[in-house]
């Protein structure tokens, strides 16, 4: 089980979004399971080729993931995963 936390910014589109635990074997697995509960959220985090969107960050514990294209950074039980927006825009 991993713990998943979200930026407040995503709650504008998914008001029921809250910190939770997920049984998953990979980052993509985490996102796909979230997408069942919060329909469409995958498209907010990833593009249609399953790459992390340019201005979205994922942290595993305190570490920014390295593989934004295929999401191969490994996760293990007990990890905390943060979905955050990059500080960009104007």
């Amino acid at each position: 089980m991993v713990t998943v936390k979200f930026t407040q910014a995503l709650k504008r589109f998914y008001p029921l979004l809250k910190e939770q635990t997920v049984e998953a074997t990979s980052l993509l697995d985490v996102i796909q399971k979230l997408n069942i509960q919060y329909v469409g959220i995958q498209a907010y985090i990833l593009d249609e080729q399953n790459q992390l969107r340019k201005h979205v960050n994922i942290f595993i514990n305190n570490n920014l993931i390295e593989d934004r294209k295929t999401l191969t950074d490994r996760i293990k039980s007990g990890d905390e995963i943060y979905f955050m927006q990059a500080l960009s825009g104007g």
Binding site: G40, A43, Y44, D47, E48, Q49, Q51, R53, Q85, G89
Partner: protein
């Protein structure tokens, strides 16, 4: 029919103006804080559409069946898995640059143009979109199309012939105009007569930059385009283009062009200063109109600021409906004319950057 609403897609949401007692008044802002690249009211279904360009969360598409009282998000058009802009460069929908119904006789049909150059079609009123493979696989796309102002090519103009909904034109920057007479199954290049000063061969078949493509609804074989290199008109459905610029009146560089729905000789452009600078000309705003098919142009300034202005207007930001004309600028200024552009009234100086206008 006279318009009662003006949809204003802006950098910070969809602003609605409402005409009541002959006055245009600001009504509300939908999607506050979110860029709206295109706002579109479909005359076939009366649905309103908002194409959102979230900085962080990607391109989204929303529709409303009650004039904006409520909105519903639908799945944005997505490229099939494995699609590539070029070899090794995955294709993703980066921007929605045009949305057009498939003809009044086909309610629920929609065409949607994107950066990086994908044309999408829906036949279920946006419940689903599919990539129009015939244009995506067009042989010139990977060799001769390129970005202009965007990282990749974009489809900003989609025209459906009111007499025959199988007859379609798309405008692409940079590539040019493509025509289909079989509902998008096949495409023909229509750039003959255009000059592209930015190409090694200015008369190349493909690689032109039609900033916007429009036609006269009452006579759709008459096409107009504000090109990167002048204003052009065609009287034969794009088989041949003829330049109708007038540099003495600054009718040359700009982004939008609007065409009368009923008079194929009448069009408006908003001149801007040169490709190199892209600002208002001599610090003042003006609108130019021709009533004779581009042989002569009249310059109108009444009611428009004539000093210390730096506005330009983007391609989807000059619209006309009967006698009423409106434009919105990069500096958030919104002007309206009730006499075909001869005189202007400012509706707002403080909107966000404006991306699109449509009368409803």
């Amino acid at each position: 029919m006279s318009a009662t609403h003006l949809l204003v897609g802006t950098r910070k949401g969809l602003a609605i103006y409402h005409k009541k007692n002959d006055q245009w008044n600001y009504e509300t802002m939908h999607f506050s804080g979110i860029p709206v690249s295109i706002a579109y009211a479909d005359p076939a279904t009366h649905f309103w559409w908002a194409c959102l360009d979230h900085g962080h969360w990607g391109v989204k598409l929303h529709r409303s069946n009650n004039q904006g009282k409520t909105w519903e998000e639908v799945a944005a058009p997505a490229f099939p898995e494995g699609s590539e802009i070029k070899e090794g460069l995955p294709a993703t929908t980066q921007y929605i640059w045009s949305l057009q119904n498939g003809g009044l006789d086909r309610p629920g049909h929609l065409w949607l143009g994107t950066v990086p150059g994908g044309l999408f079609k829906s036949e279920d009123n946006g419940d689903s979109f599919h990539l129009v493979e015939s244009l995506w696989e067009e042989p010139t796309r990977t060799t001769d199309w390129f970005g202009a102002g965007m990282d990749h090519p974009g489809i900003h103009s989609i025209l459906i012939d009111p007499r025959n909904s199988d007859h379609i034109f798309v405008g692409i920057s940079c590539a040019g105009t493509y025509e289909s007479v079989d509902n998008g199954k096949s495409w023909t290049i229509r750039n003959k007569g255009l000059y592209a000063s930015f190409l090694p061969d200015p008369y190349a078949e493909v690689g032109h930059d039609p900033h916007l493509l429009r036609f006269c609804e009452a006579k759709p074989e008459v096409l107009w385009q504000q090109n990167h290199c002048g204003v052009y008109r065609s009287e034969d459905s794009g088989l041949n283009w003829k330049e109708v610029s007038d540099k003495t009146k600054n009718v040359y560089f700009g982004f939008p062009i609007e065409v009368s729905k009923t008079d194929p000789l009448k069009a408006w452009i908003f001149p801007s200063k040169s490709d190199e600078e892209r600002t208002a000309i001599n610090g003042g705003l003006s609108v130019c109109r021709t009533d004779d098919g581009g042989q002569t142009w009249n310059v109108f300034r009444k009611g428009l600021p004539q000093e210390a202005c730096f506005d330009i207007i983007y391609r989807h930001c000059l619209v006309a409906n009967e006698q009423t004309v409106a434009f919105g600028t990069t500096c958030g200024n919104l002007f309206i004319s009730e006499d075909e552009g001869a005189s202007w009234t400012c509706l707002n100086n403080y909107l966000p950057l404006i991306y699109s206008l449509q009368f409803v």
